[in-house]
């Protein structure tokens, strides 16, 4: 084992510990803010793993999008909700135990699967991944690339229409909440004897 391989092994162990520990923390911690920050750590650890896999552009994109934008969005969403979630829920409830069992089963299946497959491993070649990705975007992945712009446009339109306050009309105190759907909720529906069979 050369020196650089040793460094890579140590880096891999550290990054894996960060990802696994962070992910466990995201699920198990009781404070949502702590979970959100740990999620950012998991994203950073995953970016490190991408670097070890020679995917430097993907790592940069991971940091830029997931840590820089998505995680910030999640934090804003938590801070937007002015509510402390009751923290007296036990970590080890029957429901969590079942969830844990299901996850462990899925993990076992995937692990068995990984050891059964004769993976076709290719020797990595040094190249400029950014240029390679750029070329792929404009050849075989052209259609998904263009559709992604429509997806981004619609995501923005939808986010603005749902998050904007301007569309909520003013209403006086004590007035019932406006119902946007024409169908009234079931308990408000007139249930006089003639209405029933």
């Amino acid at each position: 084992m050369t020196f650089s391989e040793g460094v890579q092994l140590v880096s891999f162990i550290i990054l894996t510990a960060i990802v696994l520990g962070g992910a466990a923390g995201v699920v198990l911690l009781r404070s949502m803010v702590h979970s959100a920050f740990l999620l950012g750590l998991v994203f950073i650890g995953a970016a490190g793993l991408y670097v070890l896999l020679n995917a430097d552009f993907v790592a940069a994109a991971q940091i830029l999008i997931y840590v820089g934008a998505v995680n910030v969005l999640i934090l804003f969403a938590i801070m937007l909700v002015n509510k402390r979630i009751p923290t007296d829920r036990p970590v080890f409830s029957p429901r969590n135990a079942v969830t844990g069992l299901v996850c462990a089963g899925l993990f076992a299946l995937l692990a068995v699967c990984i050891f059964q497959v004769p993976w076709q491993i290719q020797e990595p070649v040094a190249m400029n991944t950014v240029i390679e990705i750029g070329k792929r975007f404009f050849s075989e992945f052209l259609l998904p690339f263009e559709v992604a712009s429509v997806l981004l446009l619609l995501a923005m339109v939808g986010a603005i229409i749902l998050a904007q306050r301007e569309y909520i009309p003013d209403r006086a105190e004590g007035e019932p909440e406006p119902l946007a759907l024409p169908e009234r909720p079931r308990d408000e529906v007139d249930t006089t004897p003639t209405g029933r069979r």
Partner: protein
Amino acid sequence: MNIDLAALNAGALWPEYIVTITLVVVLLVDLISGRKASWSLPYLTLLGLGIATATLLPMWILENPVSFLGSFTADPLSVVFRAFILISAALTVLMSVRYINQSSLATAEFYVLLLGATLGAMLLSGSSEMAMIFVALELLSITSYLLSGYAKLDKRSNEASLKYLLIGAASSGIFLYGMSLLYGFSGGQTQLTEIAPRIVDLGFPALLSLVLVVAGICFKLSAVPFHQWTPDVYEGSPTPVVAFLSVGSKAAGFALAIRFMTSAYPGFSEQWQTLFVLLAILSMVLGNVVAIAQTSMKRMLAYSSIAQAGYVMIGLAIGTQEGYSSMILYIGTYLFMNLGAFMAVVLFSLRTGTDEITAYSGLYQKDPFLTLVLSLCLLSLAGIPPLAGFFGKLYLFWAAVQSQAYTLVFFGLVTSVASIYYYVRVVKLMLVKEPSPQVLGYSEAGDQDGIQTLKAGMLITTVATVVLGILFPPLISLADTSLRATPSLQQVRTATPVSRVSTGAEAPADHGR
């Protein structure tokens, strides 16, 4: 690595370009003229959908269906499903005009999101490459989440949107996991047809990816046991959105299921057919049984749509040429009868403000037209003889009998008979019973602009529901020719017997490794 325009074969996607252009035009018209032009937006949307359908039809059988270097395959199978999706989007627009005005929701964005969902569904039914499949699936899903939460002042709509989003995101993750396994097994291939030969000998790992992919697709089909979101989402979302989800989104899901299974897993046809047999039986039984107990029309139609998806899956589960063509025909008839029923529900709820089933009683005395439309559509959904739904089911069951899938036929017949109970109950209520207070206070005086388009849509769907039954023989031959010209399905027919032998022989050897 320069590619020229001819190599892309980009002309095969003209309908999609037109939908995209319409989407941008609707958005820009709203931005420029604001409220003044908002009345014109639905008609603009209809015009765009109409032009897209007109450009789609000449593409019936293209000489070279592969476009964008394999991302999209515009074969007749995709053309049929894209046409279904365009028609269901257009009918959804017809029923939305009055609904949107009366609920005072923002107009332009609704049609923009609906067009986006249409675009995603159309792309999904032709995608033959995994990156494209995922982008199209997300385009359809994200616009669906936004549309189901579109009545944002209503808590039920918020609940619907959140439930849909959470379960949808989880199932997207499962689907993506399955696809990433396929990417790894095949040594970095994303084309479905390239993957197939590379995973034939894999055995258990390939089956694991198959299960994950099927679970992801079945969420879109709302097949039992991936159906839990359906009733709540259908109850809380704006009704036109529900109509589109139950038809357009499902059609895209079935197109994806056919293409993914036949292109990527031809070597495992026995396994995925068994899987779909189970899903079909569960969906038919649970959908029909739970629908009986419902008191809300929208929830009843939600469970009915689960059951109908179960019937369609019979065609997928038997996996023969007849199975696929009967499946396509049934989706075609289901489109009209289900959208017709939803249009009637929209009209009734706009006039009375409720969707309780009991409120429909005695409706015949006040509005014979609405009663006629709803009765015909419900009877067709139940499969009563002269209507289109009967012939659709007949052909499905006949295809199943031909391939000796007697269990499926048995469950199909029994649950169909059970379903007649809850469909006919509504019809009987409308025709025979005394009017409910809602019906007594029923008036057409409040009708304003937009009701006419809704009535036009009801007329179209009802006529289609009645006439399609008579037109069935030519439609069957049409579906057959379209399937014969679809290369991916041709491979299936020849590949099936061979693959059965090969999986049987190689699976044990693989485990021994």
